[in-house]
């Protein structure tokens, strides 16, 4: 008989799955990898709790697991899973991406941890201590990671802006 302070894993997934998948996507920047990460975490939860998980299991637990799985997924050499077929991309490449799109692309230039810090801080509002706990580092490191990440984004934005101005100048010649 199920305990009242537990819910099924399916229930947990139904309740938090979309948010967790979005979180993983922001953390890693890739849809397919995000799905892999989330499923990896589901499996980890299944290993630990079985079919039923504590009813009060916070999303932060799964988010932390996603952050660490993102690191671990790269740590293990995953020869087996290679794309053998590419689905048609229905999107159209914007020849003049908006500033927001540029910022999204520039996030790819950051290290995994830098990106995590920005996502956790600016999308989910975590404090430095919480982020440090999730990343397994000191709060001072979180502040350093954030500062470096923002500096990197700022420098790239400046470079892109200069390049754009240069191109514009060429087009008007």
């Amino acid at each position: 008989m199920a305990r009242q302070d537990e819910v099924s894993l399916e229930h947990y997934v139904a309740r938090h799955g979309l948010d967790l998948t979005r979180f993983a996507y922001l953390v890693c920047g890739d849809r397919n990898r995000a799905e892999d990460l989330v499923q990896e975490v589901y499996l980890g939860m299944y290993r630990r709790f079985g079919d039923r998980v504590p009813a009060g299991l916070p999303k932060a637990y799964a988010r932390t697991a996603i952050v660490r799985a993102n690191t671990s997924l790269g740590r293990r050499r995953w020869f087996g899973e290679k794309p053998i077929e590419r689905l048609p991309d229905t999107g159209v490449l914007d020849q003049h991406p908006t500033e927001a799109d540029q910022l999204w692309q520039q996030l790819d230039s950051l290290s995994h941890r830098q990106r995590c810090v920005l996502v956790l801080r600016y999308r989910y509002g975590y404090g430095d201590n919480d982020i440090a706990e999730m990343l397994g580092c000191r709060p001072a490191s979180v502040r350093s990671l954030a500062a470096r990440a923002l500096a990197e984004l700022r420098s790239r934005a400046t470079a892109d802006s200069s390049e754009s101005n240069h191109r514009t100048g060429e087009e008007t010649l």
Binding site: Y42, R47, S72, R75, R76, L153
Partner: protein, 448 residues
Amino acid sequence: MDIFDFGTERSSGELEQALRDTLLRRSHDITAAAALPSSSERAVLLQKAPARKTDSAPGGRRVTLLAAAVVVLLCGASAVGVDALARRHSGGNSVPPAHSTVPAPRPTATPTTNGVASCPLPQGWRTAIEAGVIAVDQPLNQPVSAGPDGTFLMTQQAISGNDLSHDELAIFDTDGHGRTIWQAADPKHDYVSVSLDSAISANWVVYGLTRSQNLADHGVRAWNRQDGSTVDVRTLSAAEEAANLVIDFSPVVVGDTAYWVEHEFTDTGHETLVAQQLPSGSRSSQPVSHVSRLIAVGNGLVMLHDTQSSPGHVGGIPEMLTSGPGVTVPASVVQSGRMFVSDGSVLRWLSGTSVVSWRPGQSGITRTPARQAQADWTVMGPLIAGTSEGAGSSQVLDTRSGRLVSLPAGWTFALVTGGDLVVAIGNSKFGASTIRRVNVNSLTPASC
């Protein structure tokens, strides 16, 4: 004063707000949650890194065919996958794939979607690779580690019914003969972790034992290549595990000494590098911090540090090369790079648009242009392999000619050992159905 004002045009407040807006907006790119694997899928997926060598199939052909069918069903493999599996199980001397008998079209460079022109797989390469059969009797195989002497480690997996039934780690010699090193007692929860390039010495194979939850090792084992015995080098006690001590990433071996790093899970600033004389000699240790990988090269070790990330090798992330026991890295060589790999005597890595190589004792480095290589590609002798964004399959940069080669779907250049390239063909999520081996020098530089 804003602490993030770096003196550029946009104020930090604007940048932070733009970040909030961008992240919120892009989060809605995802409109559906990742699916929870079904119960039966969970049973299968819980098996992590696979393992198995096979001189003879204990379950026989019937079981492996059934296993192959299950894999196909569970993984939703394509008809190509079914064909590949069927071919592999048609016998030790498997029938060459039909496409190998079809005259190849005249190779021409074609631009991929990422804008880099690539050649199709040269027919000579295909012929040479497909001739280098490595006999396996399990449907799922992953080459995971290269030795300095032409041996390599492969994890292999068997499935019976709906469950993973058998996981092993095996060493394959230069003659293609395989020997089992480790077999999972609890395939659903235990697996091995193996260094990409530093797990094998003349007398030993060293590997880590990993449990599912935190993906860190809880034990180090050494397998004696001479007599086939296994040594329990290190096993965390229950108290140590309760105290969150972990053996991080894969142990390595230099000669008759095993090395690994221990630390409290969240404290990567205070780590311990442990050296153990095999099989049960003296043990020594020294404090280290933020070590992301150990690599055996020459007669010692170098250490890689990732000051921005937690321990473990993260593909494409810059790591800092530093000296380790037995190897002094000159100041002129100490530098950041990506995807470091050793063939036992030479260390290679990606740096900018070059492949850098260095061997212990050299005062400087050698650079080879590799402009088309992506940051997370793997250096394999003169080849660099990986997957480009926008490319439909794996790609290989041949640094001898500077040409990029697109591999057929399902092909992966897995590793180079002793000058031989090991190729995995028929990849699924869990492993490849077919393994081939070919001397790299027999592959003429790619051109098209």
